[in-house]
C-alpha cells in the first residue's frame, strides 16, 4: 500500500506542476505564433509554439506511415508463417532487444546513414525515419500479441471455404484484430511523440513553421529541451506550456488506446 502511494507521488507532483506552471503560459497567441528565436528580451517577444506542434504532428504522422505497415507486416509473418521456427524466434528476440536500444542511438544511426552517408543536412523526414525505427518494434510486438488472439477456428473456416492464405489474412485475420492493432499503433505514436533524442540531430530545430518535410523542423520535445537551457524565466515558462501541451496530446492518445483495448472483442 505504502509503496503504491510512493510510486504515485511523482505522478501527481509532475501533473500538478505541469498544470500549475503550464496554464500560466497558455495564452491565445501561444498556439498561433512561431517562436521568434529572440530569447534575450523575454516577455512577449519570444513567441509561441505553433511550429513545434505542427512539426511534431507532421513528423510523427510520417513515422507512423512508415513503421505501421512494416511493423504489422512483420507481426503477420511471425504469427501466420514464422510461428515457432528458429528464424521466427530469432526475429522475435531481436525485435524485443530493439525495444531496449536507446533512442539516441537510433538518432546516431540515421545521422550516419542519411546525413554522413548522403552528405546532406538535417531534415524533417530524417527525424521521421529515426522515430519510425523506434516505433517499429513496439508496433510489431503489440501486433503479434493481438494477432495471436484471433481464434484459429476462424482461420480454419475460411481456409475450408477455399480461401487462399492471403485472403484469409486480409479478409479474416486483420479485420478481426483491427481494434487491438489500432491500440498498439496509438501507443507507439504516443511514445514517438514524446521522444527528443532521435530528433536532436536528424530534424534539428527551427523557428518557422514548415509544411515541407525536407526542411529543418521544429518539434515539441526539442523545443522544450532547447528552452530549458535558456536562462530567461519567460522562455522556461514557454517550456512548461509546451510540456503541458505535449503531455495532454500523449495522454489523449493513451486514453484512446485504452478505450479501444477495452472494446476489443477478442480480449
Amino acid at each position: 500500500m505504502a509503496a503504491t502511494i510512493v510510486a504515485l507521488i511523482p505522478l501527481f507532483l509532475i501533473l500538478y506542476y505541469l498544470v500549475h506552471k503550464g496554464l500560466g503560459a497558455w495564452k491565445p497567441t501561444f498556439f498561433t505564433t512561431d517562436p521568434t528565436g529572440n530569447t534575450f528580451f523575454g516577455g512577449a517577444h519570444i513567441g509561441g509554439i505553433k511550429s513545434a506542434i505542427l512539426g511534431t504532428i507532421e513528423m510523427v504522422a510520417l513515422a507512423a506511415a512508415i513503421s505501421i505497415p512494416i511493423g504489422i507486416g512483420v507481426a503477420v509473418w511471425l504469427v501466420e508463417y514464422g510461428r515457432d521456427s528458429w528464424f521466427a524466434n530469432t526475429v522475435r528476440f531481436f525485435t524485443d532487444v530493439m525495444t531496449g536500444v536507446p533512442s539516441i542511438v537510433f538518432g546516431l544511426f540515421v545521422y550516419i546513414v542519411l546525413i554522413v552517408g548522403t552528405g546532406s543536412t538535417y531534415a524533417g523526414y530524417k527525424g521521421s525515419i529515426a522515430l519510425a525505427l523506434l516505433m517499429l518494434p513496439i508496433v510489431t510486438r503489440a501486433g503479434e500479441v493481438v494477432l495471436l488472439l484471433v481464434p484459429n477456428s476462424l482461420r480454419e473456416s475460411a481456409l475450408a471455404l477455399g480461401a487462399p492464405r492471403w485472403r484469409v489474412i486480409g479478409s479474416v485475420v486483420l479485420p478481426t484484430a483491427l481494434p487491438g492493432l489500432l491500440t498498439g499503433m496509438l501507443l507507439a505514436v504516443a511514445r514517438a511523440a514524446g521522444e527528443t533524442a532521435p530528433l536532436l540531430f536528424t530534424a534539428a530545430a527551427a523557428n518557422a513553421t514548415s509544411l515541407n518535410l525536407g526542411d529543418f523542423m521544429n518539434s515539441l520535445p526539442v523545443q522544450i529541451y532547447n528552452d530549458i537551457t535558456k536562462p530567461t524565466t519567460a522562455v522556461v515558462e514557454r517550456a512548461w506550456g509546451a510540456a503541458l501541451t505535449l503531455v495532454l496530446m500523449i495522454l489523449i492518445l493513451n486514453m484512446a488506446a485504452r478505450l479501444l483495448a477495452r472494446r476489443n472483442r477478442l480480449a
Binding site: I14, G100, V101, P102, R141, V145, R165, G194, A267
Partner: protein, 343 residues
Amino acid sequence: MEAASITSGERGLLTRSPLARLPDRALKWGLTVLAALILALIVYFFIRLIGQARPAFSKEGVFGFIFGNNWNPEAGHFGALPLVVGTLITSALALLMGVPVAVATALFTTELCPARARGALTVLVELLAAVPSVVYGLWGIFFLAPKLKGPEQWVADRLSLIPFIGGGAVTIPNYFIAGLVLAIMILPIVSAISREVMATVPFDQKEAALGLGATRWEMIRIAVLPYCRSGIVGGAMLGLGRAIGETIAITIVIGDATRLGHHLFNQGYSLAAVVANEFGEAEGTHRAALFAAGLVLFVLTLIVNIIARVIVNRSARKSFRGPTAGARAEGGGVTLVDAAAGV
C-alpha cells in the same frame, strides 16, 4: 499449412493453378524478407557505427577510451571513464530505489488491493510511462533538484565519514537526482513485468499456503516471491537497460562534468548525455569519440537487454508456452498495453 495437407490427396480437383497461387507466395516471401530486414538492420547499424567510431579508438586505444578519466574535447582528450561510471552509478541508483517500490506496487495490485481498484491503479502506474523523458527532465531540474538540495546536504553532512557519499557540498545537477529521476522512469516497466509474472503463480500454491495457516504476507513470502524471483530479476534487468539508455532527462539533470565526481551529490556526465549535449557542434575526432560513446552505450544496453530477455522468457515459459500464452491467461487488455509500451 492446412490447405496443403488437403490438396495432397485429391490433386486434380483441389490444387490451385500456379497463377492463382502467386499472390500467396508473394505475400509469404515478401513478409519473410521484411522480417529478415529487421535483423539485417541491426547488424548493418552496428557495423556502420564501428566504422564511424574508429578514429577515436585508434587515437586513444579501446582501453584508453573506456578507462581514461579525462573527457576534454577542447584539449583533445577523450577518456570516457567519467561517462561510463556516470551511466553505471545513476542506473544502479535507479535500480536500488526503483525496483523495491515497483515490486511492492506489483504485489499490492495483484495480491492485496480490492479487485475494483486494481484496474485504476494499474493505469495510474502506467501513466508514469506516458510522461515524455524531456518533461521528467524539466520537472527534475526546476522542481525536484531545488527542493531536495537541503535534505541532500543534510545527508551528505551526516554521512561525511563514508567515502563517495558524504562530505562535500551538494551541487545542483548531481548523480543522486539523476538516479532518482531514473528510478521514477523505470518504475512502470519493472512493475508491469513483475505484475505479469505474479499473475502466473498457480492458484493452488497460494491457496495451499493460506490453508496451512499462513497470513497474507507469509503467503506472499513462501508462495509468490520464490516463484517469481527470476521474472522479477529479468524485469529489473530490463529496467536497467532503460536506465542506461535514457538520454534527455539525464542530460538535463546530471550536469556536464568532464572528470569523475568525487561523491554522490556532485555533478556528473553520462554516455547518452554526452552525445545529446555535444554532438551538434562536434567535429573530427570529437565527433568520432561521440560515435564511440554511442557504440559503448549500444553494446552495454544490448548485453543487458539480451540477458534480461533470456531470463524473462525462461521464467515465463516455466508455466506457459511463452509470454503470449500469459497474455491469453490474463485477459488481453492490460497485457496488450504492456506489450505496446515496450515491455
